[in-house]
Structures are given as structure tokens and as C-alpha cells.
Symmetry: none
Subunit: 178 residues, 2 copies
């Protein structure tokens, strides 16, 4: 056992979990990973983690249920919702249920950690030195959605509400530095 704070990571994307887990361990957390809701609940009860990073959509379940459960177990748990399917409605409910913050993918480990430590109602604490440029954010997002559509450019463009020609052109370019 260590003095490292316990953190529960729940997300059904295995690859994403592996990457984020590594990054969080490097930042001093003792990380436990669950790939589904039940496993998440089980680990939560067993470990009573001080921190949690939870995907909004875990398979067909909602991560918000887990927020409620974690807060019931320990109201001091600091929870961040991290999702690729963000909406104002779910953000509002997440915060009402006691989540500390709500992040949209793509988000890097530094953002996650910063969000975990964010204080209540405090508009600005740790300002990130270099936020991703808009172009870079867009590039990563395009890649992510494209992948979710099996590389089908037409389908991705439709999902993104963007003209196929435009997506095509954007993909031709290099990702922006930074």
C-alpha cells in the first residue's frame, strides 16, 4: 500500500483506458480500471477511491448512475465525467449529482487531473499553459470520429454535420503542431 490517492477509471474503451491509466499512474495515482458499470460499482465499493474518472456512456449504461453511487458511498469523492458524447443536459445532471467537473473528449491527462482538483464555483484555478489550438482539437476530433465510422469519410462527414468535400480537404492536411 502506498500514500498514492486511489482513483477509479471507468470507460468501455479499452485502449483509451490503457493510455489514460498509464498517464494517471505517472502522475501519482493508484489507478483501478473497470470496463463496465457493474465492475465499476464493485470496485467502487471495494476500494472507496478518493477520485474517479467516469465515461458518460459505458456500453449501454449511463456513467451518471455510478456518480450517484460513488457520492452515496463517500460524498467527498472527486469525480470527473469524461465523454465523447457531451451535452448540456448531461453536464447539468452530472454536476447536480455531485461531479466535480465535466470534460469533453479529446482531453489529455493534465486536463483530467486539473479538473479533479478544480474547486467548487471557482471560475479559474490552474490555467493551462498551452491549450490545444482550435485547429489541433479539430484534427484530433476528426480522426476520432472517422475511426468510429470505420474510416468511412462520407459517413463521418454526415455525423459531423460537415461537407464531405471539406472533410476530405481537412484530412489531406497535416495535423497542426503544438
Amino acid at each position: 500500500m502506498s500514500d498514492h490517492p486511489r482513483l477509479l477509471l471507468v470507460d468501455d474503451d479499452e485502449v483509451f483506458c490503457q493510455v489514460l491509466e498509464r498517464a494517471l499512474i505517472k502522475r501519482g495515482f493508484e489507478v483501478s480500471v473497470a470496463l463496465n458499470l457493474n465492475e465499476g460499482l464493485r470496485l467502487a465499493e471495494k476500494l472507496t477511491p478518493e477520485y474517479a474518472v467516469i465515461d458518460l456512456r459505458i456500453g449501454h449504461d449511463s456513467g451518471l448512475a455510478l456518480v450517484k453511487a460513488l457520492k452515496a458511498l463517500d460524498a467527498n469523492t472527486r469525480i470527473v465525467i469524461l465523454t465523447g458524447y457531451a451535452s448540456i443536459a448531461t453536464a447539468v445532471e452530472a454536476i447536480k449529482l455531485g461531479a466535480t467537473h465535466y470534460l469533453t473528449k479529446p482531453a489529455d491527462a493534465d486536463e483530467v487531473v486539473a479538473a479533479l482538483h478544480k474547486e467548487d464555483g471557482d471560475p479559474n484555478v490552474a490555467i493551462k499553459e498551452r491549450p490545444l489550438s482550435v485547429k489541433r482539437l479539430e484534427w484530433e476530433y476528426l480522426q476520432k470520429v472517422l475511426m468510429e465510422h470505420g474510416g468511412n469519410i462520407s459517413a463521418a462527414a454526415r455525423a459531423l454535420g460537415m461537407h464531405r468535400r471539406t472533410l476530405q480537404r481537412k484530412l489531406d492536411k497535416r495535423p497542426v503542431r503544438e
Copy 2:
């Protein structure tokens, strides 16, 4: 003096205020209207309303300041943020500051009243099935970074590697629906 609950309505759109005021009176509220932040603060202190409906953008000021003030006066005040410039970043802040709910214009009086009476977090809100459009993602990101810089447009533009003029223009526009 009646037994009608007192409601403070703060929005810089005069026409909108008139319409909503009438509708709220019809629904049994004793409504006071303020068209700017200072007037809103003054009325808040004078009336200590049980309810408040506040625009996020009041002229050049932020309605979030008023949420904070109202909650400081009386933590039981039920406040709904109503805005045409909705973003996840501001929604998260509003709820953290104690707002009861967060609505996007256009919203009718029934929705507003329902929101005022809304109870705590519901883990069963519907989760979006589609990812955000690129435009919407950008809007959310701009709002987030802007908030991290305390609303300083110049600083946010620098951090984003984007021209101030461009950021200014993007912020003026309404967020894309979805």
C-alpha cells in the same frame, strides 16, 4: 403583499422580458424585471425573491455574478439560467454556483417554471447518440478556454493561437443547435 412567490427576471432583451413577464404573472408569480446587472442586484437585495430567471449575457456582464449574489443572499433561492449562448462550460459553472437549472433559448414559460421546480440530479437523462458537430465542438472549446481565462478575450485568443478579432466574431454568433 400577496402570497404569490416573488420572482426576479433579469435579461437585457426588453421585448423578451415583457413577454416572459406576462407569462410568468399568469402562472402566479409576482414578477420584477431588471434589464441590467446593477438593477438586478439592487432588486435582488430589496426583494429577496424566492425565484429568479437570469440571462447569461446581460449587456457586457455575466449573469453568473448575479447567481452568486442571489445565492449569497439566500441559499434557497431557485435560479434558472436562460440563454441563447449556451455552452457546457457555462452550464457547469452555473450549476456549481447553485443554479437550479440551465435552459437554452428559445424556451417557453412552461419550461421555465418546470425548471424552477426541478429537483436534484437525475441519472437517467438521455445520452446523445451522435458526437458533437465540429462547429459545436469548437464553440464548446472556445467557451471553456475563455472561462479558464476569466472571460478575457485577448488572453484566450492568445492562448488559442487565434486572432483576437476572429475569436470576437465567433463568440458573437449563436452556438450551433444540435
